[in-house]
């Protein structure tokens, strides 16, 4: 069924400063096919999309569209040439304050030669044509601000399709949709595929991928790590290629817990999710792994009092545990090293010492006055403990590398004893050396508490944890002791087959 590709990317390269994001990517898209692009965070998906949609320019390599060289310098140019991108942030694609009809015809209004005065009836008529072609049944006079996210998404796509593109790029379009909402999107995609549009679909959601993919391409560390075109598609293989495993990582001497600390019974993260059971013991490190968006952060936030469980009960040290907010959780000895440290961890106006002392500054104070000497002493100790590379404890955070910033975030919570330490994506944007330092520090101090890690990358779980749990569709679907792990089963569980088998 492979014809000539309409869109061909060859040897695409892009660096941001010293950071090589794309290291020569080859990709081709065929008319009437949905190509799914899979890749972990930081693999370079967004950069790839931004280059072909005209937001960034490439450092090297070529892109061809229908045999012509294609190097758009603005998004409008890309759109005119026939490559349309619907970005992840839905509201980028629509104007919430206008009605549906205006949104569908917005580009005609602002284009060259557009009439000066608006004719509402003509707008309505043109919008109706666009909507009918897309099979969109929406009240055209409704304001977009009043629509659900899913409907906005459909409007954004319909609006994009008004240009009759040859290539449509959808960047994680279902990340904020429910499954029934997603079904409507899939129906639209089927229709476009039948019309012969070449579609690049970027997603982590295995259910989407199973539903839509004609072929899968896995991106890893800025290069294509695998292509899967033969039916039936090898989903586990695709996940494996995306997450990858470097041979020869240090084998972990898997320990087992010597006393229970935390347990959850019948825990449900939201209305549609299956209940699950979770035990975390003293002295062990448990890694919970799974693709992006399967509920790992939701579980971390539930444990830390940032959200309430939909159902089920939790116990900490045998007592019922239901924290109302982070302060409550911290008071009971449950600490969270949150993901996305720039958003959730670092206080940019504070120096290293003050960032480290932040959660426990009250314990470093006397009569409300911060004892600066003690604060700096604590920071110096933690710098030594974790091997944070810096000039002094008074360095500003922006002067530190990503790995050292992350060490500071971990140090913040290791400075005081905890019952349960939660780390959500602790190795995000961290170099290998820092990752090893953090992992070995966690293992060295694990004896006094329960530790749970949420990671997407399998390598990180295999390197750090004693026990690995697999999460999919907001529930736990598999458990592995980190000793001769059955990788095939693990990958299958990550890819979502485990749930079906178990259920």
């Amino acid at each position: 069924m492979q014809g000539t590709p309409v869109f061909v990317v060859k040897g695409l390269m892009k660096s941001f400063g010293p950071n090589r994001v794309l290291k020569g990517v080859d990709l081709d898209l065929h008319p009437g096919q949905v190509t799914v692009l899979m890749g972990a965070n930081g693999a370079g998906k967004s950069t790839l999309v931004k280059i072909v949609s005209g937001i960034h320019s490439a450092d090297g390599g070529t892109v061809e569209l229908s045999g012509q060289a294609f190097a758009p310098s603005t998004p409008a140019e890309a759109m005119r040439a026939g490559v349309v991108t619907v970005h992840q942030a839905i509201n980028d694609g629509v104007v919430p304050a206008l009605d549906v009809a205006s949104n569908l015809t917005l580009d005609r209004m602002s284009g060259k030669g557009a009439p000066l005065l608006l004719n509402p009836r003509r707008i309505r008529r043109e919008a109706r044509e666009v909507a009918d072609r897309m099979g969109l049944s929406l009240d055209l006079s409704k304001e977009v601000a009043d629509l659900t996210l899913a409907d906005r998404q459909l409007v954004a796509i319909a609006r994009a399709m008004a240009h009759r593109p040859k290539v449509l790029i959808l960047d994680e379009p279902t990340s904020s949709l429910s499954s029934s909402e997603a079904d409507r999107l899939f129906a639209l995609i089927d229709r476009l595929r039948a019309e012969g549009v070449a579609i690049l679909y970027i997603s982590h959601r295995m259910s989407d991928i199973r539903r839509l993919a004609d072929r899968i391409v896995s991106l890893r560390d800025g290069a294509i790590a695998g292509r899967f075109e033969d039916k039936p598609l090898d989903y586990s293989g695709a996940v494996d290629a995306m997450l990858g495993r470097k041979s020869g990582h240090d084998a972990v001497d898997a320990r087992s817990a010597h006393a229970p600390v935390f347990s959850a019974e019948g825990l449900r993260l939201h209305a549609g999710a299956e209940p699950f059971h979770l035990d975390l013991g003293k002295g062990e490190i448990v890694a919970i792994t799974g693709l992006v968006g399967v509920g790992k952060t939701a579980l971390a936030e539930t444990l830390f009092g940032l959200r309430r469980p939909f159902g089920g009960s939790m116990r900490l040290d045998g007592r019922p545990y239901l924290p109302t907010n982070p302060a409550d959780a911290i008071g009971q000895g449950v600490f969270l090293v949150a993901k996305d440290r720039a958003d959730n961890g670092i206080v940019p106006e504070f120096n290293l010492a003050r960032n480290v002392s932040l959660p426990f500054v009250h314990r470093l104070s006397r009569f409300g006055v911060v004892r600066r000497g003690a604060e700096r002493q604590r920071a110096r100790e933690q710098i030594a403990e974790l091997g944070i590379v810096c000039r002094t404890e008074r360095d500003e955070m922006y002067a530190l590398s990503g790995g050292n910033q992350q060490k500071a975030m971990v140090a913040r919570w290791l400075a005081e004893p905890s019952r349960l330490l939660i780390l959500d994506e602790p190795f995000q944007g961290v170099d290998i050396a820092a990752r090893h330092d953090i992992a070995s520090k966690l293992r060295a101090t694990a004896d006094s508490r329960a530790t749970v890690l949420f990671v997407t990358e399998l390598d990180e779980a295999l390197e750090t944890a004693d026990r690995i749990l697999v999460m999919s569709e907001h529930t736990l679907v598999g458990e592995h002791v980190n000793r001769g792990v059955d990788m095939e089963r693990l990958l299958a569980e990550v890819a979502g087959r485990g749930l079906r088998g178990a259920a």
Binding site: F304, L306, N325, P326, A327, A329, I330, G331, L336, A338, D343, N344, G345, I346, V347, P348, E349, F350, R354, L358, P359, V361, H362, L364, S365, G368, V369, V370, E396, Y398, R412
Partner: protein, 331 residues
Amino acid sequence: MNLREFAIRYGFLALLAGLVVFFSLATSGFTSPQAAVFILQSVSLTGILALGVTATLVVGGFDLSIGSIATSAMMAAAYVMVVLEQNALVAVLACLAIGALVGLINGIIICYLRVPDLLATLGMMFLLIGLQRIPTEGRSIAAGMTMPDGSTAAGQFDPAFLALGRHRFDFILPDLVPASVVVLIVLAVLIWFFLEYTRFGRLMYAVGSNARAAEFAGAPVRAYKIWAYIISGVFASIGGILLAARLGRGDIASGNNLLLDAVAAALIGYAVLGASKPNAFGTAIGALFVGVLLQGLTMMNVPYYTQDFVKGAVLVVALVFTFSLSGRTAR
């Protein structure tokens, strides 16, 4: 330390010193203890308001209502004494209570009802400008005033209250330092110590710099924000008390100029010592800077609109210092 770092750190202090030297040479009578004290007195009101608004800037907020809180407090003080015939203590307590209450309401509207800070405090500003006129139907309050019902108000300003605006303490020279200057210095030291050295101040900075990180570290983010608005309201009401004591009456006024001068002082404060963030010491220096400038220009017979122009120019330069120059070293 290279030249740029030096300029960012000490540029504004050097500019202030340069201004003082310039005015000393250009005018007679600029350098005397009296003149120095007078500059402090002229900035005491805006300085106190600026210190209050600094607290809201620290938590990443803003308070546009401080000017009208000050004038409302002034009206309240006059009303309590002149119409309700109460003493100075009651008047002061009433003003402080009003300041705290308005701050609390601002905080609740912003934190719980999720109205953006600028809009919430703008609304509060209008509300207070109207509210302060309701009890007297738009009249200014002075001893012996005629009430809306035709009767004459029997009370008058308590001498103890007027002393807050007029009493002078001996310092080097007899009767040199006015009470308002003492209040300014005490409040400046208090808020500076609070923000720099206590854990509450520390967490307020954390809330302003990265609220999510502060929340994840267990800080009650909303409570800190609300407290910041209460501090701002109370400081503004102290400003209003001093204003009433100086004028000896309750004047109908929006207080918008007080607000603008206070905000200017706080923003100039960003540039002092290259802090690039709201800070009490910088705010005090910023207020002093504006005071020196206006005193010197007035002594040189420069008309008010030129003074406004110069004030604006200083603010722009200070903001450039903060956001452009020091921003580049940050990256």
